[in-house]
């Protein structure tokens, strides 16, 4: 069907100042790829400005780059050896230019990872190694540069090789070769250096010549991404790209999302006509269909026997490039193939330190620039994709912030297929979850009057609402003025008050809300009852102890209740003449006298989102029958 091309895109990555641009300049010079006079001209310019000539300048032709000694942006430079044609994509190592490195590396076939022999592994050595793995680059050669600075010491070289092999191994990247070089002096590039006769592998160029241009995916079913529908004349042309497989006249074809099916009637080509195919992977295509289907941009054409996944929610590994962090609850446009849909960040399962590969233990709420994280995302309408790397281009996406690409990700798997799509089915807790993107839950705040329950409940309500989670508050004072009017403060009445509060909270949670209750609820037994009720109804429940010492609450006394209680105007006031039984094992204890509100709020928010996205048996049926 297609012969592998002999053109290799190469990316050079590694820590700043480990010699990437110098190596590129040297590769160009040593392969006679520099136009006549260019080296001499730059040498003259350097002399005029009192600088030493560097090979890096051959490529870094922009003046200001030479002034700052850093490469500005992705650059492509072709060079060739007798055996093969290369295009180098220069991927600068300066930290703030990571977006350029990704822009370059995402389209490369192979990578040279550079390490300074005198410095060893540094932050960006590891970070770039991680990104190579995330971007799916498998062909890697490690160039251990500046060997001259360590007297071509084999032991130091071996130490770097061991350390880097171990690090990359964890990322499932196996370098083809480690090559000792001194780029500045041209050692180890064309042929193995006389200083490193102990090196038994190939020289750098020989190692590069062994790499293959990324072959089209073999044996995969058709994936035709639809770019547009053209109606310039009577024809209704579906134009797109064959990402995988092949397409020919007469083939049955199904379009996802949606699943509408037809057959390929014609292949429209210019200047030739009447071409019947097959058209293989990597090629553009324009077809007409036998049926008048409503096909639109974003859909993926596939054989009916092997269609892509359709889902609204999935987990993914994401790298973030924007200065403004990616936060739980953010909604941003997601682009996958030619599909675009608004995606909400449902949860950040963990943020990974790309340098140490350590994962943060607690669920996080944001991903900062240059961090890598595992996320759960939910798109507003179903999208079609292929997860798990089978067809890489249909398993990865970008996220937009404003008009810019702000991050990229690779889908790991779809989360639970949508249960609510069939509109003949009754509304169930599961379909509510599908609609809202989260389940209902009860967060029960308990503590003395004045401890901060109402303040925290309204703050959490706002925070959840902003994060796209439906919140509701059940407040003790409000209940007592309405639903519980007439109840007093006897132990029995307190118990009934709590029972009604719990039932109200459960009604709201069944409807899908994350309910925050703010009641003193002083008795352990009563709170235990609430926990059990929630358990029976299958609603996630968490008891939160909003804790401030009595003296502090009395000092605050916002509503002047303590003063009145002390004066004997309010009988049986909790803390004064009625006991408060603190929780024995709360899900969270918030010392509002010791930490600022923002800190307590952040802890509450993490707890609330984890409850709202808790998996497992979603809602017992008994609850849904009410």
């Amino acid at each position: 069907m297609s012969t592998p091309h002999d053109h290799l895109y190469l990316v050079v990555v590694g820590h700043v100042d480990h010699g990437k641009s110098t190596l590129i300049g040297r590769l160009l010079f040593d392969t006679n790829s520099v136009p006549d006079g260019k080296k001499e001209r730059i040498e003259a310019a350097c002399k005029a400005e009192g600088m030493d000539f560097e090979y890096a300048f051959l490529m870094d032709a922009l003046l200001e780059e030479q002034a700052q000694n850093i490469t500005m942006d992705t650059t492509r430079v072709p060079f060739r050896t007798p055996r093969r044609q290369f295009t180098i994509i220069d991927a600068p190592g300066h930290k703030e230019f990571l977006k350029n490195m990704i822009t370059g590396a995402a389209s490369a076939d192979a990578a040279i990872l550079m390490v300074d022999a005198s410095e060893g592994l540094r932050e960006q050595t590891r970070r770039h190694g991680y990104l190579l793995s995330l971007l799916g680059l498998k062909q890697v050669v490690v160039a251990v540069n500046k060997m001259d600075l360590i007297d071509y010491d084999e032991k130091i070289f071996a130490r770097i090789r061991t350390e880097l092999t171990e690090f990359l191994g964890k990322l499932n990247v196996q370098p083809a070769h480690f090559v000792p070089i001194a780029a500045k002096h041209g050692e180890g590039i064309l042929r193995t250096s006389a200083h490193t006769l102990w090196h038994r592998g190939p020289a750098l160029l020989e190692a590069l010549e062994q790499f293959r241009a990324t072959p089209p995916i073999e044996g995969a079913p058709l994936r035709l991404t639809v770019q547009d529908i053209y109606r310039f004349d009577a024809r209704r042309i579906v134009a797109g790209l064959v990402e995988a497989g092949s397409v020919a006249v007469g083939d049955p074809i199904e379009f996802h999302p949606g699943g509408k099916r037809s057959r390929v009637k014609t292949i429209e080509s210019w200047p030739a006509s009447n071409f019947r195919g097959p058209i293989g992977a990597g090629l553009p295509v324009a077809i007409t269909l036998e049926d008048e289907l409503f096909v639109e941009r974003g859909q993926i054409g596939a054989p009916p026997t092997a269609v892509p996944v359709e889902a609204r929610e999935f987990t993914a590994r994401v790298f973030w490039l924007h200065a403004e962090p990616l936060r739980v609850g953010d909604t941003l446009p997601l682009r996958l193939g030619t599909q675009q849909a608004d995606a909400r960040i449902v949860a950040v399962s963990r943020v990974l330190d790309a340098v140490t590969l350590d994962a943060s233990l607690a669920p996080a709420t944001e991903v900062k620039r240059h961090e890598v994280a595992e996320l759960r995302l939910r798109v507003r309408r179903p999208i079609a994709f292929d997860a798990g790397g089978k067809i890489p281009s249909l398993g990865r996406f970008v996220l937009m912030r404003g008009r810019r690409i702000a991050g990229g990700g690779v889908i790991d798997s779809a989360v639970r297929e949508d249960a609510g799509r069939d509109d003949t089915l009754p509304v169930t807790p599961a379909s509510r979850t599908t609609l809202l993107g989260h389940r209902g839950a009860v967060i029960w705040l308990t503590g003395l009057s004045g401890a901060g329950k109402s303040t925290l409940s309204t703050a959490l309500e706002q925070r959840l609402f902003r994060a796209g989670i439906l919140p509701a508050i059940v407040d003790g004072d409000v209940l007592r003025a309405g639903l519980c009017k007439g109840l007093g403060f006897s132990d029995e009445d307190r118990k009934e008050n709590i029972r009604r509060a719990a039932e109200a909270a459960l009604l709201l949670a069944d409807a899908g809300a994350v309910v925050i209750t703010a009641l003193i609820s002083p008795f352990r037994a009563d709170r235990q009852l609430v926990a059990e009720l929630c358990g029976v109804r299958g609603v996630p429940f968490a008891e939160v102890f909003v804790n401030a010492p009595l003296a502090e609450c009395e000092r605050r006394d916002v509503k002047q209740l303590y003063a009145r209680a002390r004066a004997g105007q309010i009988p049986r006031f909790t803390g004064i003449d009625s006991p408060y039984e603190p929780p024995l094992a709360p899900a969270l204890e918030l010392r509002t006298d010791l930490e600022p509100v923002e800190q307590s709020l952040e802890k509450l928010f993490v707890l609330a989102t984890s409850l709202a996205h808790e998996t497992g048996t979603p809602f017992a049926d008994s609850g849904a029958d009410i």
Binding site: H5, P35, A239, S393
Partner: protein, 267 residues
């Protein structure tokens, strides 16, 4: 799949993305070899129909043979052709006879382009620039935003990967769409050969000289050559070590002339 197939496929993908993303697309056409490859690719991308106007910024210093080619190609391809001259600058007497080539290029090309953009409210301009032409072009993106002042912020370019591009612009801004960015001079020739793309005769040697790159008459030099076929041109390019635009005077008028021109909106 050959390397030319790959390049063609990528260019077609970019053209279709541009046509979908932007409300008003225009394609620059200088009648040169790259421009003609661009036309050819557009015909292929849109099944034989070029769905946007083609713009020629006419400096009034065009070779007569190129103007003949323009008239022929308009007819042959069925182009919706916009020809624009910066009449205001010409009226002020701007020209190679009186002014330095960098200024003339700026006035008669960049300013003229700005005028035509304003006149027709294009939000995307398809250009035929290639990374290998000049080191400043090497840093371009496929979709490269320009602000309302036409400036290119090459220090902070948007990331671009996995076939996703900057496809939205603010008021007054536009995006340069550059489908030939990854092509080299030799790729262009090989593709012209493979597809039998009609080209102006000036690229081929007559009396021992030919034009390698075509621009304004007073500042474009032909080079010694015996190449009368594309095969011979390719053989010649394989051994030449002078740069393609060496015959274009405005690039070399002073140090960093190209960078200055480009930051001000030149292609």
């Amino acid at each position: 799949m050959t390397h030319l197939d790959e390049l063609e496929s990528q260019s077609i993908y970019l053209l279709r993305e541009a046509y979908h993303a932007f409300g008003k697309v225009g394609m620059l056409w200088s009648m040169g070899k790259d421009s003609n490859v661009l036309l050819w690719l557009a015909k292929k991308a849109f099944a034989g129909h070029i769905p946007f106007p083609v713009i020629h910024v006419d400096t009034t210093y065009e070779f007569p043979e190129m103007l003949e080619f323009r008239a022929w190609a308009k007819q042959h391809y069925g182009l919706e052709l916009i020809v624009h001259v910066n009449e205001e600058a010409r009226a002020r007497g701007i020209g190679y006879e009186t002014t330095d080539p960098v200024t003339v290029t700026h006035e008669l090309k960049s300013v003229a382009l700005q005028q035509v953009l304003g006149l027709h409210k294009f939000d995307a301009l398809v250009t035929g620039i290639r990374r290998d032409e000049d080191s400043t072009r090497a840093k371009e993106r496929y979709f490269s935003p320009r602000n309302a002042e036409f400036e290119w912020d090459y220090k902070d370019q948007p990331p671009e990967f996995w076939n996703h591009f900057t496809t939205e612009v603010g008021p007054g801004e536009h995006v340069r769409v550059q489908p030939l960015l990854d092509w080299t001079e030799i790729d262009i020739w090989r593709y012209c050969d493979q597809e039998k793309i009609p080209l102006p005769g000036m690229y081929f040697a007559r009396n021992g000289r030919r034009f390698r790159s075509l621009g304004c008459m007073p500042i474009t030099k032909d080079v010694p050559s015996t190449a009368t076929t594309i095969d011979e041109i390719i053989e010649e390019l394989k051994v030449t070590r002078t740069s393609e635009r060496a015959g274009r005077a405005q690039d070399h008028h002073e140090r960093n002339a190209m960078q200055k021109l480009r930051a001000k909106g030149f292609m």
